[in-house]
């Protein structure tokens, strides 16, 4: 009994017709009367295709992939919410799935009552909840409001209560979906800690997230799901790196952003390209730590976009945000953008980041938080080593962290 969970060639098929099915008996009858001999649509899509893997007892496994790749379907199949079309699933131990925070909360019930309700929905016994109730209340920080109906809680309080129950779940196998994406930073950290504790207690954890830093932090092994199939399965750093590489198109100084389809926003502004230039305006193919750099963002604007902000963000390969350079922070106001093509430059005096590979995300948004265009990980920025401190020594990311500050040393005042 080495494994906790064994997934064997699981596939899940949806009939496309299921999306536009007859919601009403009435429609079904009408359709039948109108077209009695027409068979229902047989067109199908595979949300999962031939997925196999095994999770060892006590292992923490991350699952990554783009939206719609099949991560959530996989989690639903594993937690038995939905059934696979083919394939089999073997489970050793008690399984609990957290696809949502506070499942089954009822607004009319008090916090305490909801802890019992939610806990038992997640598979805990009443005795087990009795034993933990004080801890749960303590963890949630709800305090005196615990006997007040949940409808009087703020959304933050509800979330904390849900997390508090989740963090005290008793299960051998935990399936966790993207729930850390919500909540304030302090509380997120508390939950991550609690979950780190969960996995150390011999528990098997399966964790789906877009937060690469969290996945990297919590999981030793990662499975990358793409188009319903396992694309890569292995050491977390390696898998995350190859996943992030698919977001960039490989050119080094001039990026055509027009064809990137993985973008959001209403399109009133559309990034069409990005260039890395030196201060004279020539293309810059090799970029080194400490260089000056102009990043030119080409865009296409519809008529009369007003009061907007542009941003350029850098991420490490593990998804940690290094910086967000934006016109709002710099106090650079753009009243109105003329119709048509244009470009905006951001001039970086000194690129004080350690040699490594970075990813660029861009966005343009209104002052009121409306996205015009948003491109995540749309380009790669390879920063090469340089003699930053004029010491003749090179600094690699392995030992020198992420950023370099210009600095001088003095011994005994000299």
């Amino acid at each position: 009994m080495e494994f906790s969970l064994k997934v064997d060639a699981i596939s899940k098929q949806y009939r496309i017709g299921q999306l536009f099915r007859e919601n009403m008996l009435r429609d079904a009858v009408v359709n039948f009367v109108k077209h009695p001999f027409v068979k229902k649509s047989k067109e199908t899509i595979w949300a999962l295709k031939d997925v196999s893997f095994e999770i060892k007892k006590g292992e923490t496994l991350g699952i990554i992939g783009r939206n719609g790749a099949g991560k959530s379907t996989l989690l639903k199949v594993l937690s038995k919410i939905t059934y696979p079309s083919s394939g089999s699933l073997k489970v050793h131990g008690r399984i609990a799935s957290l696809l949502e925070v506070g499942t089954g909360f009822h607004l009319e019930l008090t916090g305490r009552e909801n802890i019992y309700m939610n806990g038992s929905i997640l598979g805990m016994k009443k005795k087990e909840i009795d034993k933990r109730i004080d801890e749960i209340i303590e963890f949630s920080g709800i305090g005196n409001f615990i006997d007040t109906p949940v409808k009087r809680y703020s959304s933050g309080m509800r979330l904390r209560l849900g997390f508090a129950v989740a963090a005290h779940l008793i299960a051998d196998i935990l399936l966790i979906d993207e729930i850390l994406a919500v909540g304030d930073a302090g509380f997120q950290k508390k939950c991550l800690n609690a979950m780190g504790g969960l996995s150390s207690g011999g528990r098997t954890v399966l964790f789906v997230s877009h937060n690469m830093a969290a996945v990297e932090n919590l999981c030793q092994r990662v499975i990358w799901i793409d188009d319903g199939k396992v694309k890569k399965d292995g050491d977390s750093k390696e898998v995350i790196r190859s996943y992030l590489e698919t977001f960039s198109n490989g050119d080094y100084s001039n990026f055509d952003l027009d064809k990137i389809e993985n973008r959001s926003g209403n399109g009133a502004i559309r990034f069409s390209g990005m260039e890395f230039l030196d201060l004279k305006g020539n293309p810059k193919n090799i970029i080194q730590t400490g260089d000056s750099l102009i990043v030119r963002l080409h865009y296409y604007s519809e008529n009369g976009v007003r009061n907007l902000h542009f941003a350029l963000e850098l991420y490490t390969v593990l998804g940690t945000k290094v910086t967000s350079l934006n016109t709002w922070a710099s106090g650079f106001e753009i009243q109105k953008l003329p119709w048509g093509e244009g470009y905006i430059d951001v001039e970086i005096d000194s690129l004080n980041i350690v040699a490594n590979r970075y990813y660029v995300s861009l966005w343009a948004a209104s002052a009121g938080n409306l996205w015009y265009d948003k491109l995540d990980y749309c380009a790669m920025l390879d920063v090469e080593q340089s003699d930053f401190y004029n010491s003749g020594r090179e600094m690699s990311s392995q030992h020198f962290g992420m950023v370099l500050f210009p600095c001088k040393w003095k011994l005994n005042g000299r």
Binding site: S79, E100, T103, G104
Partner: protein, 256 residues
């Protein structure tokens, strides 16, 4: 079935939640459990008992109708609640696994609390009409078993259909109303012409409700033949509902 036993605590929590929520933030609280059958009884007494002179086999019409309205109100409420229960709890179905059957079952069982509350009024009325308490009263909990089975059977079918076809929701109250007139609540079975009696007996509620009445009222004999037919139909409906539910529940999360 083993799984259902494992999840019995969740089942109790759901019953408890349904009961609790029903009377939270209501002005009259649990007295609604009494008001509903009691006022229906008054209306029936005025219109059917007094004005329409409906025969009640020589028993005071109020107690004649109330003793049938108690099981009927439970049954109607159970159908209504369980029929909609899966759709109402769709967020649970798409987010977490547990035996789906707990949802309509909890809806049916939560009605038993109301039944117990309203039952106390029946005892009061028996004192008022000077009807002797007999051992027959002890039959009531036993008679509830087939009644619950029918409610579960039909409730499972309706709730499952409701997942697929949302207009079931609108047909449930209508169907319940029709069913009321097909059941001897307002009238005694004795006014049904002999040749239709067999048809009436196929409605499991006919035999059950007549027996509910007969066990507590004086001078009424339990129609064993009718009761046996009702019991058989009840079990059949339950089995049919269970089988249908098991067959369809795999797809609930995908189509709800």
């Amino acid at each position: 079935m083993k799984e259902v036993w494992q999840y019995r605590e969740l089942f109790f929590f759901m019953v408890w939640r349904d009961v609790k929520i029903r009377y939270k933030q209501t002005l009259l609280g649990a007295s609604w459990a009494i008001i509903q059958p009691f006022f229906t009884m008054i209306v029936f007494t005025i219109f059917f008992g007094r004005l329409a002179k409906m025969p009640s086999d020589g028993i005071p019409y109020p107690i004649f109708s109330y003793s049938a309205l108690l099981p009927w109100t439970f049954f109607a409420g159970a159908l209504n609640l369980s029929g909609n229960s899966l759709v109402v709890n769709s967020n649970l179905i798409t987010k977490v696994y547990f035996p789906r059957i707990t949802i309509p079952a909890a809806a049916v069982f939560s009605g038993l609390v109301d039944f117990a509350i309203a039952f106390t009024v029946l005892l009061g009325m028996m004192v008022y009409y000077q009807i002797e308490f007999t051992w027959g009263l002890l039959m009531w909990p036993l008679l509830l078993i087939p009644l619950v089975l029918v409610a579960l059977g039909v409730g499972m079918i309706l709730s499952s259909l409701n997942v697929k076809y949302r207009d079931i929701k609108y047909t449930i109250p209508f169907g319940i109303q029709l069913w009321l007139f097909l059941t001897p609540v307002i009238y005694p079975t004795s006014i049904i012409p002999e040749r239709f009696r067999f048809l009436a007996a196929l409605n499991p509620l006919t035999g059950l409700i007549e027996t509910f009445r007969a066990t507590i009222l004086p001078g009424r004999e339990v129609n064993l033949h009718g009761l046996l037919i009702s019991l058989a139909v009840s079990v059949m409906l339950f089995v049919a509902g269970f089988v249908y539910f098991r067959k369809t529940e795999r797809n609930f999360a995908d189509i709800i």
